[in-house]
Symmetry: C2
Subunit: 310 residues, 2 copies
């Protein structure tokens, strides 16, 4: 695969937080609070933000709402070379509208779900979908990161399809967020496609991915663990001892793996930032029992996470 | 559950065809051909049309495209009391826009998928979604048929949730298309909710559903088998011997169960009606090998189906 030089990739390697979307009481997206949260994540050490991913409740927002949100984040001053923007819908025209818009706004990368209603679908059908999108966007600034999240999409992006897309669209299909949780899949991708910008969908595999030439991680839980994940990345780049930092990070991740990242994280932030606005979420999300939040909070505190977040 | 009188239900019991959506070479919906196909289905004996269901590639069309299609079908003279219109999207605002529009156009019923990206979600989260929709549509003509298709949506609509919705919104949540293929689920629903308008998602269970007080069937394959399914319904209503007709219908259904209903049916219709336009389908759909179509066609012909359609 002809690989891009670093200067042609707009997004940094490292740690991306899949940002939550703060909402108002009427469940509209709170753009002001979102910009603040993005800033805070970058200040906490995140190298970038994955906007409108699963954790951002993207699929609970209309296309129009997503465009307004993207615009607001750019207007709020979050730099495009820190932003990977989710644009994948079920319907190609919607994905096209959002992708064009995000690229025109200056998004350094596009996080692209496969069309996720119909299943099973053939690799050929998915190839037609992705290639048709790329041909219609027709923009030299387009950088696609495939979003492989079979548990939610129900539509896996196979290694063969990934390779076919990367080879057919060099410099455009440049990477993947692999949220399969399947380490063997990530390993196989990194072996097959050297230089491919693979981000693990969990910070648990951050160090392993980096060691094998991948780009880093993008995860829901880095909304909470950004500083610790950034520390792992910093130590690894500096060639320093990083095992203990990764172990601490993995423990924090595990404490957060109780199911329902969106309500869990929103309810945690409501407590941490003493801001009840964080509790708003769109159905089908529903709040978790407060006892569950208390238990996670206590575990994180025992690890020293809440204290550091102060 | 307080049940509606027949006059308050706008849609007939019996056989619904989940209409295909004919497309043009540019993959836009061919409204004219769709209206013709709906007419042909009704003439073939279908009691109603499920528009913009899974088979209609609804989730590959944008909200705007779906509204234009609904409008065109009404303008084409297909009566609202024969139309169950699919409006369920992932994002509540989209579902709201489409549901309002379809009700205002005169749709006799709404076929409603759950929000199908996030999973697993709690019954409480789904209840919030559906109840919020109903409260916001606020239209006395709203009649909802829940669309239970766990293999595609990944989000089952449990019997408990169905009962809760039917009891909370009597006269509004009136029925279900159960495409689970799970006969025990259909049986349990019919026992728990007498009078609930249950349509099996396959004509294979048409007679069984009718015998237990259900409404009928709605299926992809009735695009091809409408006349035979209608015959089963007619015989059953007339109290005549119906076992042989159901058996023949079941055999036709089985011949069609080769995976990929959308390409299969479009490719069959292209042959039957000698109209190459039927071959257009949106990615991620992709054509099946012609040999597979030939095999199914031969099986149907052996059963006498193609000849009757002649």
């Amino acid at each position: 695969m002809p690989s891009l030089t670093t200067s042609e990739i707009y997004l940094p390697d490292g740690v991306f937080a899949a940002s939550l979307t703060p909402m108002r009481a009427d469940l509209s997206a709170d753009h002001h609070a979102l910009v603040q949260h993005c800033r805070w994540l970058l200040q906490s050490g995140a190298d970038g933000i994955a906007l409108l991913g699963t954790t951002g409740e993207a699929n609970s927002l209309s296309v129009q709402e997503r465009m307004e949100l993207i615009e607001a984040v750019f207007e709020g001053g979050i730099p495009g070379n820190r932003l990977m923007v989710g644009t994948g819908c079920c319907a190609l025209p919607d994905t096209l509208t959002l992708t064009r818009f995000a690229v025109e706004q200056g998004a350094g990368g596009i996080l692209l779900l496969p069309p996720f209603y119909y299943k099973p679908v053939s690799d050929e059908g998915l190839y037609r979908y992705f290639s048709s999108l790329i041909e219609q966007v027709q923009d030299s600034r387009l950088r696609i990161y495939l979003y492989h999240f079979p548990k939610l999409s129900g539509v896996p992006i196979s290694i063969d399809l990934t390779a076919r897309l990367a080879e057919s669209f060099p410099g455009i299909v440049v990477g993947m967020k692999d949220s399969s949780g399947d380490w063997s899949n990530m390993q196989a991708l990194l072996e097959r496609l050297p230089g491919f910008k693979l981000y693990a969908g969990t910070e648990r595999y951050l160090l392993e991915v980096l060691k094998r030439g991948g780009a880093g991680c993008i995860s829901a839980t880095t909304n909470a663990t950004a500083a610790w994940a950034a520390e792992v990345y910093r130590l690894w780049k500096a060639g320093e001892e990083v095992g203990a930092a990764q172990e601490k990070l993995t423990q924090a991740r595990q404490a957060l793996e109780v199911g329902g990242f969106i309500p869990l994280l929103k309810q945690l932030f409501a407590r941490w930032q003493q801001n009840e606005g964080w509790r708003y979420m769109r159905p089908p999300q529903a709040p978790l029992p407060e006892a569950a939040i208390t238990a996670v909070e206590a575990q994180l505190e025992a690890l020293g996470l809440a204290l550091e977040r102060g």
